[in-house]
Each structure stands twice: as C-alpha cells, then as structure tokens.
Subunit: 129 residues, 2 copies
DNA sequence: AGTTCATATCAAGAGATTTTGATATTTAGA
DNA sequence: TCTAAATATCAAAATCTCTTGATATGAACT
C-alpha cells in the first residue's frame, strides 16, 4: 500500500462522508495501521494457519495432543499413503507446529508447544459461538 | 479409518516392536483416538484456519482488531481490487471470523469475537518460540 | 554385502483457491 | 425516474495444493 495512492483515495472518499473530521481521523488511523503491517511479519503467521488448514493435518495434530507418535502409526491412523503423510508432516514441521525426534529408522513427532493446543481451543470457541 | 484394516496393520507392526505389551497399549489408544475424530466436527475448524491462511485476509483481520471498517476502506488499505476484497470478506464472514453490519450502501465489518484476537496471539506465541 | 523396512523426495495429474474484468444489484441523492 | 456509488456475483485464467506412484536414502538385521 503506498501512501500517495492512499491520500488520493482519501480525497475521493472525503466527498461521500458527511463528518469530515471524523473521516479524517478514520483514514489517518487506517494509514498508520497499514504501514505497520509488514509482509515479512505476517507470512510466518500465514504459514501456521495454512499448516492447520487441512483436515489430514488437523487430524495429525489432534492425535499428537495425546502424545508422541511415529510416522508409521500416523499413516495407519489416517488411512493415507505413506508419501501423503510424510508430506503433511513436513508442512507441519516447517510451520513450527510439530517437532521431530529420530530414533533408528523411526521418526517420532510431537506438538512443539502448548500454544498449539491453545490455538485449537480458541478455534473451537469461535466455532461454537 | 476402518477398524479391521487397523487390526491387520497391528499384526504387521507387532513384528517390529520389541515390547509387545507396550505396543498393544499404543495401538489401542490410537484406534480409539481415530474413532473419536469425526470429519463433521473437524471441518468447521478447518474452515476457520483456511480463512486465516491467506495474507490478505490476515491483514483484514489485523486491521479490524482496532475497530469496525467498511469494505471500501479495506479496499483502499489492502490495495486490491474491489471484487478480490469482497471475496475475502465473504470467506472470513462465512467462517465466522468477522461479522457484517449494513448501513445504507456501506457494509461495515468487525471481528466476531475476542477469540479471534486470542487465536492470533497464540499463533504469534508459536511463531516466536 | 544384501535384504528389508521407514521415511523422504520427485514428477505428474487432479483439484482447489485467488485474481481479474465484466456485469448485476442495491441504495442514496438529484 | 435517472445517475452514481458500494458491494456482490460470475466466468475464465493463473496459481497453488494435494495425492499418487515411482524411486531414493538410510538404518537395522541377517
């Protein structure tokens, strides 16, 4: 969002809003808010939400709430192909939602933080409301 | 996930795990967990995460944290086309993340609940960790 | 060393989402 | 009633994401 364009737009919008002072305040607030929204800050957040925005990955996360599981157990549980599960696990790991521990030929996964559970709880709260 | 297939898999896995009793307990737990994961319960949650899994929609939500804004203000702020913003707003509304109030020819949007802000806070917590 | 199993990676196809431009709908005001 | 503005909707193109099947890698066991 570039500031010049925004100011041009303010001029345009100004014509349609009766209380000019109030409008002035609104758009000023808007401009400063947009300026503070940096894409670099937002993309790790998008990554987390993207990671949770899939039914298979959400199932994985819910299974891991109860404790550590290996990739092979998750493959059985989800009834998906091995490569699909591996792909989903890498997306979750990449987003920082889960952590991996290797033991011989097995890979064990666990939730990386209690914040994940809180995230799910808040989503449920919003859902039920 | 069907139970019979799961039990066949247990037989297969049993051969690779030394402590049979421990394994038995693990897989039993796994079976009961999977049985409790219903797709119907999970999809509204997926919908919420999908709604937040886009940089433009996340920007909208962050702008709305500070208060109500109309669609035209959001269009200016996001520097996107009118139809794109309208589309993103309808996805957020549909997921229950935002609420709409119509006033004349304007549509004003606001976060539907404090849970949305908490959701973002938890994501940030996870991100920073 | 050779085999087997667990997991990762890759390329291709199927499917979903996002953006765009055009066109509708609704509301306010002349 | 006519016009202009705000928003919604639609179809098509562009872009992602998911799944699959094939193959690669690396650990454990013989």
């Amino acid at each position: 969002m570039n500031r010049k364009r925004c100011e041009v737009e303010i001029e345009r919008l100004r014509r349609f809003i009766p209380e000019k002072d109030h409008f002035e305040a609104r758009t000023q607030k808007l401009i400063s808010l947009v300026d503070r929204l940096e894409e670099e800050t937002l993309s790790p957040e998008v990554k987390i939400f993207k990671a949770l925005a899939d039914i298979n990955r959400l199932k994985i996360v819910k299974l891991l709430k109860e404790g550590e599981l290996c990739a092979c157990e998750l493959t059985v549980a989800l009834d998906n192909s091995q490569s699909t599960v591996s792909h989903h696990l890498s997306i979750l790991k990449n987003a920082g939602v889960i952590k991996e521990r290797k033991d011989g030929k097995w890979s064990y996964f666990r939730l990386s933080d209690g914040a994940v559970i809180e995230l799910l709880n808040q989503a449920k709260l919003l859902m039920d409301e």
